[in-house]
């Protein structure tokens, strides 16, 4: 490595050298520029490695050979070297990316770029205020020059506004430095920090001006209209530099100033950052132009970093880890996205659908979005985890809440954008994809994953990229070129092997969930063999990501791993759901509800941490003992709502019907039969550790009972009125999950048994029904039940699956659904709350309505003319159904096989309560008994006897044609008018339809509409007029002044 001064000297020298070259030697000029940047990048890399790995101590560089205050000194430590690396690598890659532009513009442009790097290096390295001013000025001039490089005509205006604003900042800075020097007698930053008491005695205004100048450079809301215009109109490669490199340099400048300021100014910084973060993300919601959206996102992310800078006092040792995680994630992602935006021809978000032509670019896009959002395994995830825990420990809950809210807004537009990319029509203009630009994007992608690994290593918790299931899921990205059947086989094999490996370590409860997830999941994968002639790009990585998350979730022992697994399964399932043909809005609603829920869980864990970075889940149990007041209640509430989002409890359920119904045939059973269990597992874990909790005297499990009961009613009732078969099943899931939540919330032994019974049953029959209905829909080309009818003879196996399924769901003996009902009655016998039961009782028989409708309108009644030649559903879709039929039968006969051990296991949590006795073939409770096998035999014997009798007396029966039915004086001839199917329960709608008003949907729609309208209204605030911007700036300065005066 070469001396630190080289960062300034070499680029300056190279810039001069360029000036001496002949104008026509463009290749040489370009070569010099690249070589300079490459050399400096390498140098920065060596320094960073030296500080990080080899343990070098930070060095001071005395420019004039004397220590300060007599000469300017520079400091090079880990932070500085990492930022230098960031600046130079961004510049280098942008320079490669800008090859054509630079060659065309000639050596002047190249030297401006080098000067910019030099100026940024100066800002990063210097410890002298006046020196800082000089480098800021240089940055401004160089940036202004580069903005003008753009082809966009608006760039001229934007550049001009930028220069004006920058001059205001420079003036503020200069005046501030002047007064500060007056007050302290030094312009050395460290010197001034030592004398900060002196400075603030009379020099408040002096510091305020310097502070404002640097803050304005960070584009805070509302004084950032100019910046957005710049982002929108500048060349994307340059926007990448502004966003990543200039942003990072300005942040370190602010950090240096805060060193002088002391703790009083920290909160102010955080508030400015927070407001910017919220406002930028809010405005982003209403944005359709890609570069402007990226601008908003940049502004927002830098606001977030400012927020973190202001929390220096509570972050302690984690400060660099958190700031670095968020800042680097932002820089890499934003640079990557800006570079991609240069490849996309159209400027609207939906034009990015062109990325679908290049799977690698698409993957890069997805990674950058995840990087921005702080999803695992990226650095933002680790950083946000620490940040949230620190905020919770310091009791800065308002900050925490608002930050998470703004993150959710950000997720809103980022995932919407992702949805556009995956689902919208391909634009007419293809991607402009020269190899050098693609390489640059790919390098950013590599950097993103490298950062993910590094942050995982640095994290005090575990490195997610060391988790085998996650690696297995990611491996499918590499395996994408393989044929689908092979990938399917690998997926099934992997899951079975993982189950066999983990099996010995599971407790009985985990065994039930693990069995459903891994073995159950591989059975559903059998259905994926159908249509495996196509490659199904993206399917396997997403599905395996979900399964990885699920299988990690059930074995997680501490809050960090639990939450990471939760996020992984959420993201994986989102990608899966998004694959459906019409699922774009539904997948968005799913991910937003899920992330909202996840943030609540995060906040809950952070509160429960009591200052610790993570807690073993078992420690949740001690929470009520350790803390006074309502803390335990709040933790319970946050976690419970988070988990209830996943089980689609009423109020939070609106994502489910669309997401499950619009998903692909083999995805619906995965996300319904398996994914919903994650929420139940979370609730089980929560109730098992925390037990009953109160909040302001309200028993929270009691509230949960009501939620479960109402979910059961609403889900069932809405299912009755669906015309779409998959939607019907989806609503029915809401009802079924309601039962399970109800069972858990009863907080007694049998209630939990019932919930587990529902977990198993729901997995089997809902997976089976989704597959049957999916198979039928594949053949008929519709999911609307009234368009079908009479398919029983054409699709007998699907019919049998549905028949067995509905008998099981309805709880009619002798199938396993009855077991759930029997345990339910035994459980409620010892329950203390009776009113919610009324609702559950009401919900019960309603299930018959939709179940009958499902089987009747599809398989019975009149066959339609266009369906007369249909075949049975494809083999691979029928096969798992038949396995499920066998499962249901076995589970109906010997429920003890699965439940005995869990019964004993649960027993330890409810000592002394009523339990079950599994002796022999009869299961007894203290109230009654249930003998599955005798029931099956008795019913079987009666049925067979009567059947044989009928066969005997009716042996001459003739099969008649479809329309041979008894009608008064007319003969029907059209199936459409004879098949009674549409609006099947019209009288029921008359009686109880008022209960199905979409109040919840309306609530959430109004809320999102309001946010969008607010965003649309407020963004008009940026008029594009330089004078308005000047007023914003002035107002901002005054407002901050008053705020700080008020706070001090």
């Amino acid at each position: 490595m070469v001396d630190g001064i080289s960062f300034i000297a070499v680029s300056l020298g190279a810039a001069f050298l360029l000036g001496m070259l002949r104008d026509s030697w463009r290749f040489a000029a370009y070569g010099v520029s690249l070589a300079t940047l490459a050399f400096l990048t390498w140098n920065a890399f060596c320094w960073t490695k030296g500080f990080a790995v080899d343990g070098l101590v930070p060095i001071e560089i005395f420019t004039a050979g004397t220590p300060p205050p007599f000469a300017v000194n520079l400091r090079l430590g880990l932070t500085e070297s990492a930022l230098l690396l960031l600046v130079h690598i961004t510049a280098l890659l942008s320079a490669i990316y800008l090859r054509d532009t630079l060659m065309q513009q000639g050596r002047r442009a190249m030297s401006v770029l080098l000067v910019l790097c030099m100026a940024l290096s100066g800002i990063i390295l210097t410890r002298d205020l006046f020196n800082l001013f000089v480098f800021v000025e240089l940055t401004v001039i160089a940036s202004g020059g580069l903005i003008l490089l753009s082809q966009d005509k608006r760039a001229l205006g934007a550049g001009f506004k930028y220069l004006i604003v920058s001059q205001v900042m420079s003036i503020l800075l200069l005046i501030g430095i002047f007064f500060a020097y007056q007050a302290t007698g030094t312009i050395n930053i460290d010197g001034m920090a030592e004398q900060s008491a002196l400075l603030f005695k009379g020099g408040f205004l002096a510091f305020f001006l310097m502070f404002m100048a640097v803050v304005l450079e960070l584009k805070p809301f509302p004084a950032n209209g100019w910046a957005l215009d710049v982002y929108e109109s500048a060349h994307p490669a340059f926007s990448a530099i502004i966003s990543a490199a200039v942003g990072a340099a300005s942040l370190i400048a602010l950090d240096k100033l805060l060193l002088i300021a002391g703790p009083d100014w920290l909160m102010l910084t955080s508030i400015i950052g927070l407001i910017t973060f919220i406002a930028a993300n809010l405005f982003g919601l209403a944005q359709e132009n890609d570069r402007r959206l990226l601008g908003y996102s940049s502004v927002g992310q830098i606001g977030l970093v400012m927020l973190v800078l202001g929390q220096k006092d509570i972050l302690g040792d984690n400060y660099l880890f958190v700031v670095g995680g968020i800042l680097l994630a932002h820089a890499v992602a934003k640079a990557g996205l800006f570079w991609i935006s240069g490849l996309v021809q159209g400027r609207e978000l939906k034009d990015w659908a062109a990325l679908r032509q290049r799977p690698l670019l698409l993957f890069a896009f997805a990674s950058f979005i995840a990087l921005l959002m702080g999803l695992p395994p990226f650095p933002g995830f680790y950083a946000k985890w620490e940040l949230v825990h620190a905020l919770a420990a310091a009791d800065r809950l308002w900050l925490l809440g608002l930050m998470l809210f703004a993150s959710l807004l950000e997720a809103g537009y980022l995932f919407r954008w992702f949805g556009y990319v995956i689902k919208r029509d391909l634009p007419e203009q293809p991607l402009a994809c020269p190899w050098h630009k693609r390489t640059v994007v790919m390098l950013a992608l590599v950097a993103a994953w490298a950062l993910a690994y590094i942050w995982g290593e640095l994290s005090p918790h575990s490195n997610l990229l060391h988790l085998l299931p996650l690696l297995f899921a990611l491996a499918f990205l590499v395996l994408e070129p393989l044929p689908a059947w092979l990938k399917n086989l690998l997926a099934i094999g992997g899951m079975v092997v993982w189950f066999l490996l983990s099996y010995p370590g599971y407790d009985p409860l985990q065994l039930i969930y693990g069995g459903i997830i891994l073995i159950g999941g591989s059975i559903i994968f059998l259905a994926s063999f159908y249509g495996s002639a196509q490659r199904r790009l993206g399917f396997y990585p997403s599905a395996m990501l979900m399964y990885a998350g699920l299988s990690l979730l059930i074995v997680a022992e501490d809050s960090f791993n639990f939450f990471a697994a939760w996020e992984l399964l959420t993201v994986g399932s989102y990608f899966l759901i998004l694959r459906g043909k019409e699922s774009e809005p539904h997948a968005l609603s799913y991910i937003l509800f899920s992330l909202g829920g996840a943030f609540l869980i995060l906040a809950g864990f952070a509160l429960a941490g009591l200052g610790a970075g993570q807690i073993p889940l078992a420690r949740l149990a001690d929470l009520s003992g350790q803390t006074s007041g309502e803390l335990a209640g709040w933790v319970f509430l946050l976690l419970a709502i988070g988990f209830l989002t996943k089980t689609a409890a009423v109020g939070l359920h609106i994502w489910l019907p669309g997401a499950h119904a619009e998903a692909e045939t083999d995805v619906s059973p995965m996300v319904s039969g398996i994914l919903l269990k994650a929420g139940l597992f979370g609730l089980t874990m929560l109730l098992m550790t925390m037990g009953k909790q109160q909040l302001y005297g309200v028993e929270l499990t009691h509230v949960m009972l009501w939620i479960g009961a109402i979910s059961a009613l609403v889900g069932n009732l809405l299912a009755v009125f669906q015309e779409d078969a998959k939607r019907l099943l989806a609503y029915s899931s809401i009802g079924q999950m309601g039962y399970a939540v109800f069972g858990l919330a009863m907080m007694n032994h049998l209630g939990w048994m019932m919930a587990l019974m529902f977990v198993i049953n729901h997995y089997i029959y809902k997976s089976m029904l989704f597959l049957s209905v999916g198979g039928v829909a594949k053949r008929t080309g519709t999911r609307l039940m009234y368009q079908m009818g009479g398919l029983i003879t054409l699709m007998p196996l699907s019919f049998i699956a549905v028949l067995i399924g509905i008998i099981a769901v309805s709880g009619v003996p002798p199938l396993s659904g009855f077991g759930g009902r029997w345990i339910f009655y035994n459980a409620i016998m010892s329950d203390e709350y009776r009113l919610p039961l009324v609702i559950i009782f009401l919900a019960g028989p309603i299930a018959f309505l939709y179940l009958f409708r499902l089987i009747h309108t599809i398989f019975l009644g009149q066959l339609k003319d266009e369906h007369r030649k249909l075949k049975e559903a494809p083999f691979w879709i029928v096969l798992p159904q038949m396995i499920f039929v066998a499962f249901l039968m076995i589970f109906a006969l010997v429920p003890g096989l699965a439940l005995r051990h869990v019964d004993v296991y649960i027993g330890q949590f409810f000592a002394g309560g009523p339990s079950l006795n599994w002796e022999g073939l009869t299961i007894t409770s203290q109230f009654g008994q249930w003998a599955p096998i005798p029931i099956m035999i008795i019913i079987g014997v009666i049925f067979m006897t009567l059947f044989l009798w009928l066969l005997f007396v009716n042996r001459r029966a003739q099969k008649v044609k479809q329309f041979n039915i008894v009608f008064a004086a007319e003969r029907p001839y059209r199936p459409e008018t004879t098949h009674f199917a549409w609006n099947f329960f019209a009288p029921y709608r008359k009686a109880l339809g008022f209960l199905t008003q979409p109040l919840v949907t309306r609530f959430w729609e109004t809320l999102t509409d309001l946010l969008h309208q607010l965003a649309d209204l407020l963004r008009r605030f940026y008029t594009g007029n330089g004078q308005t911007y000047a007023v914003h700036l002035l107002l901002f300065v005054v407002a901050v002044y008053l705020l700080q005066k008020g706070m001090m």
Binding site: G790, I792, S810, V812, P813, F818, R821, W822, Y825, I828, M829, R834, L835, L837, V838, F841, L842, P845, F848, L849, F852, I855, H856, L860, G861, T922, S925, F927, G928, Q929, W930, A931, I935, I938, I939, I942, F943, L946, F947, L950, V953, N954, R956, A957, K959, V960, F963, I965, V966, F967, A968, T978, H979, F980, F984, A986, P987, K990, A991, L992
Partner: protein
């Protein structure tokens, strides 16, 4: 497992008695209804004659497998329901197959026949059948609710789900009957009972005027014979549950005959006086008048 094979002939004996009693009772009740309407009514052996006629009809058609199985489901439901509940209290001979399960089994098994029959009728492709089924299902969701609440109240009251134990708790004096110890539950249950007996004002399911006889429209000959047998068994099987839960059960056959008749007559008395409800009207009626009583019963028990 040690199964007492003698239970099979004993159960068949119960079945035999109940079928015959049901045949005669149905005709008798129909006669009462006719007399109220100033008509003469059918002879008391009419049901036997119908049964023989149906078995001997020569033309017989089928619409498919489910259609064929519908009556089998229906009758299995009736027979099973009867056999899963002890008929005569204290008698081993007439305790039937009640070892297999408790009250909950009986409650849910009620739907076995209904559902199977609905599936069979639906395969006939006749719209009247489907319309009748939607009406029946819609009505049953509201009608069953007070009964479920009453059953829960009774189970809570006696702290058991075993039918035999519930009957045992009511022995001694007629004042020990649930009718007197828990009148609210019995009121709710009896209101619900009206809804399940296919008599006015809740007989829109069969609706002989607009959708001639509803779900069974397409059934004839031996199918109808099976269903007719079920019509003799099923109401009695259901009444046996009511009798056991609320009216002290029956310790001997004469008491059984009397109690079943009296309970049946409740629905007849209401039925001959009131006109028919539409489906949504009956749903509202149950929710407004019967369910609150049931809720009170559950809360106050």
């Amino acid at each position: 497992m040690d199964f007492d094979w003698m239970k099979i002939p004993y159960s068949l004996l119960t079945l035999f008695i109940v079928v015959n009693y049901g045949m005669i009772l149905n005709a008798f009740i129909q006669k009462i209804g006719a007399r109220v309407g100033r008509r003469h009514g059918i002879p008391i052996w009419q049901n036997y004659a119908d049964l023989i006629k149906n078995y001997s009809i020569r033309s017989s058609i089928t619409h498919g497998v489910m259609f064929y199985l519908g009556p089998v489901f229906r009758l299995s439901g009736g027979v099973g329901l009867l056999l899963f509940v002890p008929t005569i209290y204290g008698s081993y001979m007439f305790s039937n197959m009640s070892f297999a399960g408790d009250l909950i089994l009986a409650l849910y098994f009620v739907f076995f026949g209904t559902l199977g029959m609905a599936l069979g009728a639906a395969e006939s492709g006749h719209p009247h059948a489907a319309i009748g089924i939607t009406r029946g299902l819609s009505q049953v969701t509201a009608a069953e609710l007070p009964f479920a609440l009453a059953v829960f109240a009774v189970a809570l009251q006696y702290q058991t789900l075993s039918v035999t134990d519930i009957v045992a708790a009511q022995q001694g004096s007629f004042l020990n009957w649930t009718l007197f110890t828990n009148p609210l539950a019995v009121t709710a249950a009896m209101l619900s009972f009206l809804g399940s007996m296919m008599r006015p004002p809740f007989d829109v399911v069969l609706a002989p005027q607009e959708i001639p006889i509803g779900p069974p429209t397409e059934y004839h000959s031996s199918y109808l014979a099976l269903m007719q047998t079920n019509r003799a068994i099923f109401p009695i099987a259901k009444i046996v549950i009511y009798m056991n839960l609320f009216f002290g059960g029956a310790a001997s056959w004469p008491v059984f005959f009397l109690k079943v008749f009296c309970i049946y007559m409740i629905s007849v008395l209401v039925g001959v006086v009131f006109p028919r409800f539409r489906v949504e009207q009956s749903i509202r009626w149950f929710l407004i008048w019967a369910v609150p009583v049931g809720i009170l019963a559950v809360v106050l028990v």
